[in-house]
């Protein structure tokens, strides 16, 4: 099964490598948000902007992620290839995992590219605490893609699919947003990861629960 999950992932990487649709949508959108934030906080004291920086980044990642998830679904809709995956002799949960990993990868890479640009524009340094921050980035993004992959599968079946995804997605990922923002603020302020195990646990628990349960129920989303 792992090999087939990897196949689905590789197929998405290959497609994305050629079209760059999902990636460019997410990257450009996140970049725009980072720029617009600057105008929104025009009169805020510089210190408070720096404090809010991790929060701004995660808001940008969240909304960019929604955009990317909508694109990711369009790929499987084009020639109804999602139905082809359903016809294949693999567990529907494996289809979920393959798509989820692909979504995770593209979101994560576009986040990694936004970070240096953010650092330059806001004169903010990530370098001192980069590795723990990277871990949080992985945990948070995994949560987004775990929920986003199954919810975008739900949203494509509704009458207003592009609007439905954020409505379903945003309230449910609240714990990820809180956890990621809290830990990012503290990690970037120099606190060691040891001091925030509760938060890391919440992120891990969220990821594990949503990946496992989605794996189990994904076939009900696909089957008519």
């Amino acid at each position: 099964m792992l090999k087939k999950i990897a196949r689905i992932l590789w197929k998405d990487i290959l497609t994305e490598f050629r079209t760059r649709e999902m990636f460019s949508a997410m990257f450009v959108f996140a970049l725009l948000m980072v720029v617009v934030f600057n105008f929104a906080f025009e009169n805020a004291p510089r210190d408070s902007i720096l404090q809010a920086a991790p929060g701004l980044l995660w808001v940008a990642f969240t909304f960019a992620g929604i955009l990317g998830l909508n694109r990711s679904n369009a790929i499987e809709r084009e020639n109804m290839s999602m139905q082809a995956l359903m016809l294949a002799p693999i567990d529907r949960g494996a289809v979920y995992l393959g798509k989820m990993l692909a979504n995770f990868l593209f979101m994560w890479i576009s986040e990694l590219l936004i970070i240096p640009i953010f650092a330059v524009l806001y004169n903010y340094s990530f370098t001192a605490h980069f590795w723990p921050f990277l871990l949080i980035l992985v945990l948070g993004t995994l949560g987004f893609s775990a929920v986003g992959t199954i919810f975008s599968g739900i949203a494509v079946n509704t009458k207003m699919r592009d609007v439905m995804l954020p409505i379903l997605f945003l309230p449910v990922v609240v714990p990820v947003v809180i956890g990621a923002v809290e830990t990012s603020i503290r990690v970037l302020a120099g606190e060691p990861l040891r001091g925030m195990t509760d938060w890391l646990k919440i992120l891990v628990v969220f990821d594990v629960i949503f990946i496992t349960v989605s794996f189990l129920v994904f076939e009900y989303v696909l089957e008519e």
Partner: protein, 241 residues
Amino acid sequence: MPDSTPHLELFDIRKNFGLVAALNGVRCSIAHRDVVALFGRNGAGKTTLLKILALLMRPTDGHFQLEGVDARRDAADTRRHIGFISHATYLYSDLTALENLKFFGALYDVPHLEERIAQSLRDVQLWDRRHERVRGFSRGMQQRLSLARTFLHDPSLLLLDEPYTGLDPIASGMLDRLIERFHREGRTVVLTTHNLDLRLPVVNHAVVLEKGLVACDERRSRFASKDFEELFKEHVKERAE
């Protein structure tokens, strides 16, 4: 192969969409080597039935057996033996012809995949264009590649949903020959059509669906084209009155 156990046996299959019943208890037995033409008006439940057989849809009630084994018990394994053709091509437009076949071949664990892909690409006359992206293919080429994709894993049961709709003459001739070859090789075919003017001499089993029920189920060694029309008129009219 012992022909005593039917290849496919449907036990009282029902499907409701909400309170609307699409299938009202379909019973049918399909033997090995049958080429079944499933007729019915729009909304008679043909596509619904085919989707249930392809395990794309969950029946509300009832079950069906493949080679005497309940099809949903090991659904993933059942799907290995089924080929399904509908109006969608099921191809990834941004992958090449070769990549598409490699991807699906790997999902089906096709043995000797490389040679098999080479053979099937030659069969559908796309070998020379194997490294081109599907997006640049004409509609007809995409349909041919889609056929190659369906036969790649050597299914023993082929389900076709309105297969002739929208096919160009080349692809449709290719499909005729494929179905005939399939029949010769001893496999089973079920195709739905609303077109009574079906010129497929290998059809040996006609089923007419009407309002979610089997109105007529006939096996003959051979059907002439006009037989379909007669059967259909006889059975569908009766119920309309």
